[in-house]
């Protein structure tokens, strides 16, 4: 169905090609995942498939692209759309109609499909993406997940034979993500569509796709069944793709020579079986459950190895007793609507690392916006570092509370990175050498030094995200709120960002992180708050939260893979919940000798 021959493409004004000599052919009915880090050329490749490159975007293109026998270079994008449906990243700009029905009809109407048939197609495609009955709803009122599914429906209504989706789940919560994947699986089974899915995450994809293709720096570097790729950790790390957490445990076992490559587990049951099998052979104290005391011993050992990494995961710091945040009976309602926050009581100590989790619309961001006075309580009060947000202006609070938003493009407006960082300082009244000094410090700290006098919009999304963080850091906030710091970043980007946040945390900054990425939450946060329908439904350590399956299910969240594995191994581990692969490895004798 898809044939690429020696495809090379260079964007206008770019010195390096974004795609280099790609050769690829895909058969009908296959479900293929296209992986790779940011900037590897995944989006560029999908744009080549339906002719937007070179017909809309110019640049240097060589080689050939054929879709179902048609030469893409010589067929208009619009007529290719009948064969190949492309769903782009941002659903917001793909929704053209005001009502759901109007939007779904847009495609077929352009192809002059008779009205009767269009009506049928609307109902059919809405049913496929599970939006039946939404026909008359206004598109602007849909949730993020619904918008994303509508974007897919709009393409399906044209009845293409091939469906290409460019990171359709990057901005969704876990529930929204699983709904998209369920939709795709159903499509493939019922309609026998050929699907090419561009994605970052691997965990949900593994058992759904037939084949995986990996791009790295514009080159096609790997093609094969997913399990082969996911067991090859060095390759994944090299290409910036996140490995499955359980496979990290397995890889260590493999390196020790205990198991073969094919035995590296890729799901929880396999990992459970493997650990049970190996524990009597190589375990620290075979058969004896590990007790809490031993956990502490081990954790001290880990502290030496990983520095700050695991410190105070169990015990919050007691030395500094200043309250960073104190919230009393906070209720908030948007104009005349039902309350978005109900009776929130919360105190956060200085120096905590707290994660806010919950479904989209649970009230996480609404709560966070109270911390710097962007929103003010309808009733109750919010006191930040001794300042009541009702009495202190946001611009004043900004000196103490840093808020990094999800989309860096909403704040960048200066011509150079340096000027962008100076903006917040000027607002706070800094001038001259003090300002220069602080900017220089933060540029160094965030690794943005090489881009000092570059235009921010000429940089990639990951760097722009970093600029947004840096522009807040110059103010040296005591409290840092980060809303989805890793949306749309690849694994390498996520790690860079998290390392920075971790560094700030150990320097004493109070961190409040909003995230859908449960692996990150489990790994970094010391305290987790689960929100549901504007209320706090659970507050505790990651271990406590992720072992409470009931509350998680009610909040439409899922525990990270390793926590689930710990729960499965309850009889061995007792009440402990492990959140990192290294903790599991600690159970084994050779694990103790690592680093020696």
């Amino acid at each position: 169905m898809i044939e690429l021959e020696d495809l090379t493409y260079t964007y206008p004004n770019a010195s390096e090609p974004s795609l280099k000599n790609i050769n690829l052919s895909l058969e009908k009915g296959k479900f293929v995942a296209l992986l790779g880090s940011t900037g590897a050329g995944k989006t560029t490749l999908s744009l080549c498939l339906n002719g937007l490159i070179p017909q809309l975007l110019e640049g240097k293109l060589s080689g050939r692209v054929r879709i179902a026998g048609k030469d893409v270079g010589k067929t208009a994008v619009q007529s290719l759309a009948k064969l190949l449906g492309l769903v782009l990243q941002d659903p917001e700009t793909q929704i053209i109609g005001r009502s759901v029905e109007e939007d779904t009809a847009f495609g077929p109407r352009n192809f002059l499909v008779p009205a009767k048939e269009i009506e049928q197609r609307i109902d059919q495609s809405l049913a496929t993406v599970r939006l039946t009955g939404y026909n008359q709803r206004l598109t602007e009122e849909l949730s993020g997940g619904e918008k994303q599914r509508l974007a897919i429906a709009g393409v399906l209504a044209m009845e293409p034979e091939i469906l290409v989706l460019d990171e359709p789940t990057s901005e969704l919560d876990p529930l929204g993500r699983s709904e998209i994947y369920a939709t795709l699986t159903a499509l493939r089974e019922k309609n026998n569509l050929t699907i090419l899915l561009v994605d970052h995450s691997t965990e949900e994809l593994m058992d759904k796709v037939d084949e995986v293709i990996v791009l790295n720096h514009g080159e096609l570097v790997w093609r094969g069944v997913p399990s082969d790729l996911l067991r090859n950790l060095p390759l994944l790390r090299q290409w910036g793709i996140k490995p499955l957490p359980v496979s990290e445990i397995g890889w260590e076992f493999y390196e020790k020579g205990w198991i073969s490559l094919a035995e590296i587990p890729l799901d929880i049951p396999a990992a459970e079986g493997l650990i049970r099998e190996l524990l009597p052979l190589y375990g620290n104290r075979p058969g004896i459950p590990l007790e809490g005391v031993k956990y502490l011993e081990k954790s001290q050992h880990e502290v030496q190895q990983h520095g700050e990494n695991l410190r105070s995961k169990r015990e919050p710091r007691l030395s500094e007793k200043v309250l960073a945040v104190e919230i009393k009976d906070l209720t908030y309602r948007y104009n005349s609507g039902s309350p978005a926050l109900r009776g929130i009581n919360l105190t956060i100590d200085s120096g905590e690392f707290l994660a806010l989790i919950g479904q989209n619309g649970a009230g996480k961001t609404t709560l966070a916006k109270h911390f710097n006075g962007l929103l003010q309580p309808t009733s109750g009060e919010v006191i930040i570092e001794g300042m009541n947000t009702l009495k202190v202006d946001t611009s004043e609070l900004a000196k103490t509370v840093g808020y990094v938003f999800q989309n860096p493009d909403h704040q960048i407006f200066s011509a150079t990175v340096e000027k962008e960082l100076e903006f917040g300082l000027k607002n706070a009244g800094y001038r001259g050498s003090e300002m220069k000094k602080r900017v220089a410090e933060v540029l160094e700290y965030t690794g943005l030094e090489p881009y000092r006098s570059v235009h921010p919009f000429s940089l990639g999304k990951g760097e722009r995200q970093m600029i947004a963080v840096a522009s807040i850091l110059v103010l040296k906030p005591k409290l840092l709120i980060i809303d989805e710091p890793t949306t749309g970043s690849d694994w390498t980007g996520v790690q860079t960002m998290m390392a920075l946040i971790e560094k700030l945390h150990s320097a004493g900054t109070t961190i409040i992180m909003i995230s859908h990425d449960m692996d990150l939450v489990a790994q970094y946060a010391k305290r987790v708050i689960v929100m549901k329908d504007g209320e706090i439904s659970l507050d505790g350590t990651p271990q406590e939260i992720f072992s409470n399956e009931e509350v998680l299910r009610e909040s439409f969240l899922a525990a990270p893979q390793l926590c689930k594995l710990s729960l499965q191994l309850k009889d061995v581990l007792g009440p402990q919940i492990f959140v990192e692969a290294s903790e599991f490895l600690g159970m084994f004798e050779s694990g103790e000798q690592r680093g020696c």
């Binding site: 619009q78 007529s79 759309a81 941002d90 053209i96 495609g107 192809f111 900004a398 960048i412």
Partner: protein, 269 residues
């Protein structure tokens, strides 16, 4: 801009073309008469139409209140500027008083009456056009454009503009919040200061709009826009018996109005 108000009255069900004809008829009648009494009658019938479709009164008030200064100034201006020679009736030519000594700038009775007419006309126009937009969906309007042979691009542009107003407004709010969180103050002194403090909003909004427009153009091509110069009409608009009856009624009303105005010479000043 007032949005579509769902409902199932006769006006809602009428064909968009009938409604347009009625709208034009209404305007013509309104411009035939100069006498405020006649205008009051016209305003009353417009009000009845509005009541019929259960117009949200608060919205109408919201539109009226900013107009009050304009209303007062119109009456004053017409009162003083319409010279007596412009009126047919003797009673209208009467001069009430002079603004300046030496019989200069006289205020005529007719002028004030004319001002009142202008105001009543303005208000009935507003009501009638609201009735039209509130009872007609955007889809119907695009159909109307199509029937009137307006190019498809024009109606497409109109639909898209309306679709993206809420999206851009959301962007604006997000940008405003992001900049506030960095300590931007929006109360700088002087014109330069206030322009300067809005740059952090305007520049990202501008850049984001361009980026959105870019991906929108891709999305439209993806969905086959521009393959043919036309597109499928989803709902054929057709005339019903109620449309013919309404049109006959509009015709009758117009005829009557012309007879009163030119046959009986009524309604002039």
């Amino acid at each position: 801009m007032l949005e579509y108000l769902p409902g199932d009255t006769l006006i809602h069900r009428l064909d968009v073309r009938t409604k347009m004809l009625g709208f034009i008829g209404f305007i013509i009648i309104s411009f035939l008469f100069q006498d405020p009494l006649f205008q009051l009658g016209i305003l009353l019938s417009a009000g009845l139409l509005a009541l019929w479709i259960k117009i949200p009164l608060r919205k109408i008030w919201g539109m009226m209140i900013p107009l009050i200064p304009i209303i007062i100034s119109i009456i004053l201006i017409t009162g003083f500027t319409f010279a007596p020679e412009r009126f047919e009736r003797v009673s209208s030519q009467a001069i009430l008083f002079y603004a300046l000594p030496g019989e200069r700038i006289g205020a005529t009775v007719g002028g004030f009456l004319m001002g009142t007419t202008f105001i009543l006309r303005l208000i009935s126009m507003m009501i009638v056009s609201s009735v039209l937009t509130l009872t007609t969906s955007l889809e119907d309007f695009t159909q109307f454009f199509q029937k009137m042979k307006v190019p498809a691009e024009v109606s497409m542009m109109l639909t898209m503009a309306i679709r993206f107003i809420p999206t851009l407004d959301k962007k604006r709010r997000q940008i405003l919040e992001a900049q506030k969180a960095r300590g931007t103050k929006f109360k700088e002194k002087g014109i330069i200061g206030s322009i300067g403090s809005y740059l952090p909003i305007m520049i990202p909004l501008f850049i984001n709009s361009i980026m959105m427009a870019n991906s929108l153009s891709m999305a439209m091509l993806n969905r086959g826009y521009g393959l043919t110069r036309t597109w499928t009409t989803m709902r054929q608009i057709t005339f019903n018996s109620r449309d013919y009856w309404t049109m006959a009624f509009i015709g009758l009303g117009l005829g009557l109005a012309f007879y009163i105005r030119f046959g009986l010479q009524l309604g002039v000043l």
